[in-house]
């Protein structure tokens, strides 16, 4: 089963506060996607986080960081993957929809999202949410985020296209 954190300290507070902020933002902002499309975006970003952590944060092929108090999963890892990553991804999708509506260039949004994520990661490192090892540096994450948000943008476009298709069929 899921383990309890070793100690309820800075990293747990950081996760709780960011989770709360994201939930409040989600509750008060207008919904730009259908329920199914929103669910899709959230699940995709959760899976993206889980996969990225499995590839570069576990033993093989690379082990560049640990999360929270232990290398294994605890309750707060569960919250990160189930609430924080999905809502963050959902807001990226919402931002992208607004961005495209104004006709602004998409690479600027991707760069902005990567930089914002870098800032948040730096903050989370200060709060011991991530502990780097084996030579990883916060700037290395910029490259990772750039790749991740390119994939993310492609996925949001796909969902927007399929969402339109579903609505069209529904009304027909």
């Amino acid at each position: 089963m899921l383990n309890a954190p070793v100690r309820f300290d800075a990293n747990e507070w950081f996760v709780c506060i960011t989770m709360l902020v994201l939930i409040v933002l989600f509750a008060v902002t207008p919904k730009m996607f259908s329920k199914q499309a929103a669910l899709c975006l959230m699940l995709f970003h959760s899976v993206l986080g889980l996969t990225a952590d499995m590839i570069i944060g576990v033993a093989y092929p690379w082990d560049f960081y640990d999360t929270m108090d232990t290398p294994g999963y605890d309750w707060f890892d569960f919250f990160i993957y189930t609430v924080n990553y999905p809502l963050y991804g959902y807001f990226f999708g919402t931002g992208m929809k607004l961005w495209e509506r104004r006709g602004w260039p998409l690479p600027l949004l991707i760069a902005g999202a990567a930089l914002l994520s870098l800032l948040l990661e730096w903050l989370s490192v200060q709060f011991q949410v991530f502990q780097y090892k084996n030579g990883w540096h916060v700037w290395d994450s910029l490259l990772a985020y750039s790749v991740i948000f390119c994939g993310s943008a492609a996925f949001v476009k796909l969902v927007m296209r399929w969402e339109g298709h579903v609505f069209y069929r529904g009304r027909g």
Partner: protein, 176 residues
């Protein structure tokens, strides 16, 4: 005692990768044939399968119920394709056949319980293969019986999720 016939692949991870790849390809082809591949509903279900399997596997591995022996690229690739390709694809097919059985549109013999049982057996056999090939290793009393139970509960959760989403979608479309 529990060795699956594919034990012959032990130490031959290349074959396991090919086998996993072949299973995923066959499943994707079947999904395509059933016109399920390019649909938002399939995407939601597939992503839910990925979320659930990765989360649960993470918890199991954290509790050292089994160890993933990824000592080289082949074993890692096999594990990755199994976890992120074979398992979700088989679950998606099971969901599809269970749905058709339930709706009575075709496959009248395919009741949800029958499909669930068949899906559980296939998923358990898939894990046997990985275990037999030495890609995962059971520990702390985890055994194939527990593995069967694990897949049974996991697939049941996917079925419940699908019913919730499918009914919601039907309701939304009706409301339009």
């Amino acid at each position: 005692m529990y060795r699956f016939p594919f034990f012959m692949f032990k130490g031959r991870e290349e074959y396991m990768v090919l086998l996993e790849f072949a299973v995923v390809s066959a499943c994707v082809w079947l999904l395509y044939r059933q016109k399920l591949l390019f649909r938002l509903n399939t995407l939601v279900n597939g992503l839910f399968c990925l979320y659930l399997i990765q989360m649960v596997e993470g918890i199991i591995v954290s509790n050292q119920k089994y160890v993933v022996v990824t000592h080289n690229a082949w074993t890692f690739l096999t594990y990755l394709i199994h976890l992120m390709g074979t398992v979700p694809c088989i679950a998606l097919l099971a969901v599809y056949y269970a749905r058709r059985g339930k709706d009575g549109t075709s496959h009248p013999a395919a009741s949800s319980i029958g499909v669930w049982l068949a899906g559980t057996i296939v998923l358990t056999l898939g894990e046997f293969m990985l275990e037999s090939a030495g890609i995962i290793r059971y520990s702390r009393g985890f055994h194939p019986g527990a593995s069967w139970l694990f897949w049974a509960v996991w697939l049941a959760a996917v079925f419940v999720w699908d019913r919730l989403i499918y009914l919601k979608e039907a309701k939304d479309v009706g409301a339009c």
